[in-house]
């Protein structure tokens, strides 16, 4: 029953659930103790808050359903030290642009709680924070840097 309700909610949130295929499970973290790497949730939303905290950064994503109701997803990400020197800052994550976001949902049934894999933006730039091989060659710029 609970599963049905959650599934409906996710559908109402325009979330697409699919089997994970391409992205390997992140080895550093016991993601599988907390998140379901057998599923990938796809969300469309705007990052409304970023907690730059240890041991994991949390990204909050405001996802609007077709009736305009906003649900804020709490998305766990990498430790802050992983970001050091990369240039990917809290400010960049909070740029206000709607992103298509993939995430592993929580295993314990907590709604709107997941492990973020990738944020992709309409102009083509993306933040792949969930692991996986880097592109063999640098990706050509598809839009002016922000």
């Amino acid at each position: 029953m609970r599963t049905t309700v959650r599934t409906k909610k996710r559908l109402a949130l325009a979330a697409v659930v699919a089997l994970a295929s391409a992205l390997p499970l992140v080895a550093h973290h016991a993601v599988s103790a907390e998140f379901d790497s057998g599923k990938v949730v796809t969300l469309k939303g705007v990052v409304s808050k970023v907690d730059w905290v240890n041991p994991h950064i949390f990204i909050y994503l405001d996802v609007k359903d077709e009736n305009g109701k906003v649900t804020t997803w709490r998305l766990q990400s990498v430790p802050p030290m992983f970001m050091k020197g990369s240039g990917l800052t809290k400010e960049k994550l909070l740029d206000g642009t709607e992103a298509t976001v993939t995430a592993y949902p929580a295993k314990d049934g907590t709604d709107a709680f997941g492990f973020v894999l990738k944020l992709a933006y309409p102009d083509g730039h993306f933040y792949n924070l969930g692991g996986g091989p880097a592109p063999a060659a640098p990706v050509p710029a598809q839009a002016p840097a922000k």
Partner: protein, 296 residues
């Protein structure tokens, strides 16, 4: 393979040299298995300054080696910029890099594990099997000495040496008196995570004795518990712009023999940034006990 043999021969002390000598293609091979905390960050730092050990060793006015400086900080380099404005994390697939997008760091020598008396091995296993619940550093608890590792920054005066740490669980300091006093006999001094430290010079080596360590902490990841009888001795010897750091943990109540680990620290030009606040958002969401890497 040749590189692996080289690092074995050189040992931890030679990591920086190994990084210098390793051909570029050695950096690029076997990336998936190359990831090896906890010492990898040290290797990254060594790789940035391969000639550090050959620099002159500075001394303070009182004639001792000057240990002041930033010697280690938790490295990023796991998120790389691609294109003009995109970023990719490589953990699980690759290794920390000496600069964002730069070459992967060489594999670190794994630390020896502490050896326990036979009757305590089951306890270690049980703690390790339940690590996501039992390891308090996963839940923002302090790692304590010695798990916190070598000092990340050292501030040295003639009267005391201060070790500073920016850890994922919090920011810590240890003020180590150098005035010849003995270990504290204050009965009100409770056991603590960083204990009671006293320092002295043994030639050009700083020797720090640590006692009064709480048994709440572990020696390292993987359930390596200890008692409050733990006695830690740290030895730090500056060689050029490196420090040879050795830590001996002696806890005869539970350990079969003292546990010794070594690191080569490399002077870094960066400041030691305050660690971000630690917030335990994971507690209660673990549905099983799969191991969560938490090495330092």
């Amino acid at each position: 393979m040749e590189f692996r043999l080289t690092t074995h021969a050189a040992g931890i002390v030679g990591l920086g040299l190994a990084a210098l000598m390793a051909p570029v293609n050695a950096f690029c091979q076997n990336q998936a298995t190359n990831y090896g905390p906890p010492a990898t960050s040290y290797a990254v730092e060594a790789a940035r300054y391969p000639d550090a050990a050959s620099k002159p060793t500075p001394h303070t006015a009182d004639g001792h080696p000057d240990l002041t400086g930033v010697w280690h900080h938790f490295f990023g380099g796991l998120v790389a910029k691609v294109g003009d404005n995109s970023f990719v994390v490589n953990f699980g697939q690759s290794v920390p890099r000496s600069t964002a997008g730069g070459p992967p760091a060489p594999k670190a020598m794994p630390d020896p594990e502490p050896e326990y008396k036979a009757q305590f091995m089951a306890k270690v296993k049980k703690l390790n099997d339940n690590q996501v619940k039992e390891d308090q550093t996963l839940h923002c608890g302090p790692p304590g000495v010695p798990r916190i590792g070598p000092p990340q920054e050292i501030v040295q005066t003639s009267k005391q040496v201060v070790f500073l740490y920016a850890d994922s669980t919090g920011n810590y300091w240890r003020a180590i008196p150098m005035d010849g006093r003995g270990l504290s006999t204050n009965p009100e001094l409770e056991d603590s995570y960083n204990g009671d430290s006293i320092g002295r010079w043994d030639g050009d080596t700083l020797v720090v004795d640590v006692t009064r360590l709480t048994d709440d902490s572990w020696l390292a990841d993987n359930g390596f518990f200890h008692t409050n009888k733990l006695h830690v001795v740290e030895r730090l010897r500056r060689v050029g712009d490196t420090i040879q750091y050795q830590m001996t943990a002696d806890d005869p109540a539970v350990l079969a023999k003292p546990w010794i680990i070594s690191r080569t620290l490399t002077l870094q030009p960066d400041t030691l940034d305050e660690a971000a606040r630690c917030v335990d958002n994971d507690a209660g969401h673990y549905v099983n006990s799969e191991h969560h890497d938490n090495a330092r």
